[in-house]
Amino acid sequence: MRILVVEDDKDVAGFVVRGLREAGHVVEHADNGRDGLFMAASESFDAVILDRMLPGGIDGLKILETLRGQKNSVPVLILSALAEVDERVKGLKAGGDDYLTKPFAFAELLARVEALARRGKTEGPVTKLVVEDLELDLLSRQVKRAGQKIDLQPREFRLLEYLMRHAGQVVTRTMLLEGVWDYHFDPQTNVIDVHVSRLRQKVDKPFPVPLIQTVRNAGYMLRAERA
């Protein structure tokens, strides 16, 4: 994917750019607001990582407002040291798609950016999600693996649906809490792990190939088709 990183701090920018390139993406970098706006507006990217505090007179939010004003709907992830809830709301209201506060774990950033970019490319409403031999029917709310019916609680269904929609991508615990439980805080205990392990009992354990993978220091991933 083509990703634009607009960040003025050299260390953070280097860290992010290198990490993204290692993950196989094409990355462009701007270290001030004016260049960032120019590049975002003139080239096409799959996602933009935008810092809020930028030198050059144009800050992150202004860039965002300008892009949206030009009907540019590129997915934007806002990176900010401003962690208050009001700032988060401000950022999302200005047109941001996701908001990550510093300091952040790189795995979290990668997972979210990839999820954002993928989101921009959906092909329209689907009625069925299929990964390998796992089938999830959104209309009848039924799950089948290798032809066998799996009985899931409503919340477990939602959890599996989220993982399948992000198949092949890293999904962090925070993303799961937000996407499945609509809970926006970081609980100290690993409540998510318990739910995922229950899901695994039903979806993976009775079958030869485990689909739900744990990604160390990041979260989980539902494995997509083998290449």
Partner: protein
């Protein structure tokens, strides 16, 4: 000078006074001297009417005779007549000659006259008669002139007095205002200099200044509480956060000096990262609590149904409880209308549930019960664990407070502080009671003041 509010008030007062005095003087003039004027004019006109009738009846001789008669009967000695022919020669009347200033007919003239050596003033009117005769009729208006002079003098004196009163008033009003405001400003100065226990004194009259003083005192109380909160945090940071920071630092230093392999180094770095994350989480929670206490989120309040988010939380923590062998029983009504910030309430209840599950023994039960109450909504989270000893109950909601029994479990001790902050922001309360055994935490949220719309 005009920046002083006291002087401004005084100036307004003085001008009002001047305006009222002027209005009064004008009215007085109109009703006295003005009245005299009108009376004199009416008398002269009536006189003229009478004389003209005589003229029509009997011509010149009759007029001359009438004038003479009138003069003879003028006991008040205030009438002035003069009848001249076309050549301005006197025919009848009591004026020596035609006054030069009386040139036009049908106009009032004020004529200085001399009576027996005394200067006086007469109001006269000229009539032109057929045959070229000119008739002058008038009355003495010396009285009016004197009255006018009297009123002018009085007015001028009044203006002087008003000016003096204005200056005095200005000084009095300014000192009055200063004295009342001095109370507030001395207190403010004392506080600015650092004596935070000062409060504005109330005069006890219950007037607007007292109300202002009360508002200021309330504000000072609140600032005092916030400052205490900050002090608390600084102390807590000094005490409780240096430990993980020191630990992380020590680990890194040791790894740097004595690590034997790349894997050991990597492990040390990973642990240090985890430590740092932990510290950041504590700071985030602290900031959150401060944010909540500062009240900035109150504007995001809305009317909402608490039942779904509470059910979600019960389900979220239900799995964790099950893993530990603890039963989570949830008693939530179909609909639970409330007023507030959904995310904050969620986080508060989550903290309570987290604590309850964490401290519950295997086989125990954690109860989550929500119901509408007389004044809003009540959410109860009760566990059967070790509970909080009675002497610690009061301090449990302090930041970083961890009872002796809890020292071994992970956590920074901020959970209850956050719940307390959320309760306070909503104008509600957090009650901690001994559930014998265990802890029962009740979060009470009041209903909004006005009835919800829609």
């Amino acid at each position: 000078m005009f920046r002083s509010a006291g002087v401004r008030f005084a100036v307004v007062y003085a001008l009002l006074l001047a305006a009222s005095a002027a209005a009064l003087a004008l009215f007085l003039w109109w009703s006295t001297a003005g009245l005299l004027d009108r009376q004199t004019e009416t008398a002269i006109r009536a006189d003229a009417q009478g004389l003209s009738e005589r003229w029509e009846e009997g011509g010149l001789p009759a007029l001359v005779l009438t004038i003479d008669e009138r003069l003879s009967g003028n006991v008040d000695d205030d009438a002035v007549y003069l009848l001249t022919n076309a050549r301005m020669q006197r025919v009848a009347g009591n004026l020596a000659g035609w006054p030069s200033i009386v040139r036009e007919p049908d106009t009032w003239y004020e004529l200085p006259v001399q009576r027996a050596g005394i200067l006086s003033l007469a109001l006269v009117w000229r009539y032109d008669l057929p045959g070229g005769y000119h008739l002058l009729i008038g009355r003495d208006v010396q009285v009016r002139a004197q009255l006018r002079r009297l009123l002018t003098d009085a007015l001028l004196w009044a203006l002087v007095i008003v000016a003096a009163m204005a200056v005095a008033g200005a000084l009095i009003v300014r000192s009055l205002l200063r004295r009342t405001l001095a109370n507030v400003s001395t207190t403010a100065n004392a506080i600015a200099a650092g004596d935070f226990a000062q409060r504005v004194k109330l005069s006890g009259r219950g007037d607007e200044f007292d109300q202002l003083a009360e508002v200021i005192n309330d504000m000072l109380d609140r600032i005092g509480r916030l400052m205490d909160g900050v002090k608390q945090v600084s102390n807590a940071i000094a005490h409780d956060l240096r430990t993980p920071i020191t630990r992380a630092r020590a680990r890194l230093e040791e790894a740097s000096l004595r690590a034997s392999s790349p894997e050991a180094l990597r492990a040390a770095i990973d642990r240090a990262t985890a430590d740092l994350d932990g510290i950041v989480a504590v700071f985030q929670a602290l900031m959150r609590i401060s944010e909540i206490e500062a009240g900035s989120r109150r504007s995001a309040f809305a009317t909402l149904d608490l039942a779904p988010p509470l059910a979600d939380l019960a389900e979220l923590y239900g799995a964790v409880a099950e893993e530990k062998g603890v039963t989570l029983s949830a008693d939530i009504p179909e609909r639970l209308p409330a007023h507030g910030d959904r995310e904050l309430i969620q986080q508060a209840v989550a903290n309570l549930l987290d604590n309850a599950v964490k401290f519950s023994p295997p086989g125990g039960t954690v109860r989550l019960q929500a119901r509408p109450a007389a004044a809003g909504v009540e959410v109860l989270v009760a566990d059967q664990g070790a509970g909080i000893p009675p002497e610690d109950l009061k301090r449990a909601t302090e930041r970083f407070f961890r009872g002796e029994s809890a020292r071994s479990t992970p956590g920074a001790g901020l959970g209850l502080a956050l719940v307390q902050a959320v309760a306070q922001l909503h104008g509600g309360t957090l009650r901690l009671e001994d559930a014998a055994p265990g802890l029962a935490a009740t979060l009470s949220l009041p209903a909004p003041e006005e009835p919800a719309h829609g």
